[in-house]
Amino acid sequence: MSDVVLEVENLTRRFGPVIANDGVDLRVRAGEVVGLLGHNGAGKTTLVSQIVGLLKPDAGAIRVAGVDAVADPATARRCVALQTQSQAPMDGLTPRTAIEVAGRLRGMSKAAVAAAARTLAEDLDLHEWLDRRALPDGRGLSGGVRRLTAFAMAAVAPVPLIVLDEPTNDVDAARRRRLWDIVRRLGDEGAGVLLVTHNVVEAERVVDELVVLDHGKVVAAGSPSRLRGTGDHALRLELWLHPDGADPSDPSGALPIPVARRVRVGRRVLLTLGSADAEAAVAWAATLRESRRIEEYTLGPATLEDVYLAVTAEAAAGATTAGATTAAAATDAADIPERTARV
């Protein structure tokens, strides 16, 4: 028996002249958490909509737990639990009843679903709100509690594939951690998890594999360490330019240190370098700051964010130049939380 629970092959979907998914290939195996990354409009939601039978592909194949999701979407939907990006409809329900309703629709017995709801509420630290009713217009329960409830509704029943679309929006830091622990556990219990997000830093912590989508195309795929590519000892030097200030790292040939990758996002310039060059890099950046050519700089371990920004910027620019990539303001850096400390 194959361990693949989601197989997407050469999936193409157009909306008029716009190609939302352009020959997408994707695979999620049992026990695996796969992150699907991409900016707004990259085609992530279109892909998910086709998996659950809301949209029909123009070309390509989707198999969920061996079921042809294009030919038999109803059976495929039984194999997928989806947490949508929009809130789940739960006005008039308490989180407990909402979770129980979701489990009952998947054929769980009343006793089993009640026990599962209690466990999930405990694990997500939701019990304070478990019996509080959600009211119309966002009253009664906060957005974060509603989001956690929607996550629990997707996670309550054992299904081959769980698709989570931005599950941590509105959720506080402590409960985010709990949620990621459960995502990891769902994978360990045998489910395949497709995690749709634009939050690279969070995804890096939990995923086994990553697929980066840009303008409907897969622009990078692989494990986080493979995608980082530069080895676990690579560093990232981040320069914050003055508004309208010149980029001192341009052209990259003039740099005093060897740079594996260079990405510019608005006022930020991200340089990936080897750990042996750390001292020289700090000295160079300090000089730049003293001479007021840059505002700030940080040095930290290279992250997936650098790779993500590089591959999406490459796709936006359409070309790379001599190992360095430049694409100004092509990405929404505000979506990506900071990880390294400002020096």
Binding site: A30, G31, L55, A65, P73, G92, L105, P136, P160
Partner: protein, 265 residues
């Protein structure tokens, strides 16, 4: 990697395709879900129906002036139909339009349930919401005109349910056919048409011939006549042609609604 290192590999046995949940369990669960969403506003809706009934029965009475007994009876026996149509053609499209805008419609379509059951649960809840309008209207008319009714219970129940289903199904179809904003606008136009241009609260004889012919194929006049026959028996009873027209509209509304729920764009 040293030989002593142990790597915990994730489970590689995929879960099997889950079995289909029983239709009754699915329907009952969906009903519980939908009812919870509307339940909180149910008393408010019944109050609005009472006010609307009073508005039609008392207010139209002022408009007409000297209301004689047959006109009062016509007005009063037409009011339940107006209330059912208002729920079906105004509240249902607005509810569905809101569900489409908020993402609820999409969420429900992604659930592992036969999609026609989503419509069935919605229809059931709207019936529960709409049907109290009939006793409310009868009560208001009795208070105002002291009318005496002679109920044909089987016909009254059948006509009420059929009219409520027609109104709800057509309202649902309007909401899934048109973009949300347009659906809300259309529902406003429809309510004016039902209240002012349909022979529900006034006799058909007051309309020009061509407009009468139009109303022979629209659901409003047939629904009103059927309900009236159930409220004041001893008239002509049920007209089979009216029943056929309502059935066709009902099937049309249901077909369009189910198609919108089932089809993938």
């Amino acid at each position: 990697m040293s030989e002593a290192t142990v790597v915990a590999t994730p489970t590689r046995v995929p879960r099997a395709v889950p079995p289909r949940t029983g239709l009754w369990t699915t329907y009952a669960t969906l009903l519980r879900w939908t009812m919870a969403q509307i339940g909180a506003i149910l008393p408010l809706i019944i109050l609005i129906q009472a006010l609307l009934a009073a508005g039609i029965i008392v207010g139209f009475g002022f408009l007409i002036g000297d209301v004689n007994s047959p006109a009062a009876q016509f007005l009063s026996t037409g009011t339940p139909t107006v209330l059912l149509m208002v729920i079906g053609l105004v509240m249902v499209p607005q509810g569905v339009a809101q569900a489409r805008t908020s993402g609820t419609f999409t969420y429900q379509r992604a659930l592992p349930v036969p999609r026609p059951l989503l419509l069935l649960a919605d229809l059931t809840v709207w019936l529960v919401v709409a049907l109290p309008g009939i006793p409310v209207a009868v009560f208001v008319a009795w208070l105002r005109y002291d009318l005496s009714y002679s109920f044909d219970w089987p016909l009254l129940v059948a006509a009420s349910v059929l009219t409520a289903v027609v109104a709800t199904a057509v309202g649902y179809a309007v909401a899934v056919l048109l973009p949300p904003l347009l659906a809300q606008l259309a529902s406003q136009v429809l309510v004016f048409f039902v209240m002012l241009f349909s022979p529900i609260t006034f006799p058909e004889s007051q309309l020009p011939d061509w407009f009468r012919a139009v109303h022979d194929v629209l659901p409003f006049r047939p629904a009103a006549d059927l309900l009236r026959a159930g409220l004041v028996s001893g008239g002509q009873g049920a007209n089979w042609q009216d029943l056929a027209v309502l059935t066709v509209w009902c099937l049309l509304g249901l077909t369009i609604s189910v198609r919108a729920l089932v089809r993938r764009s």
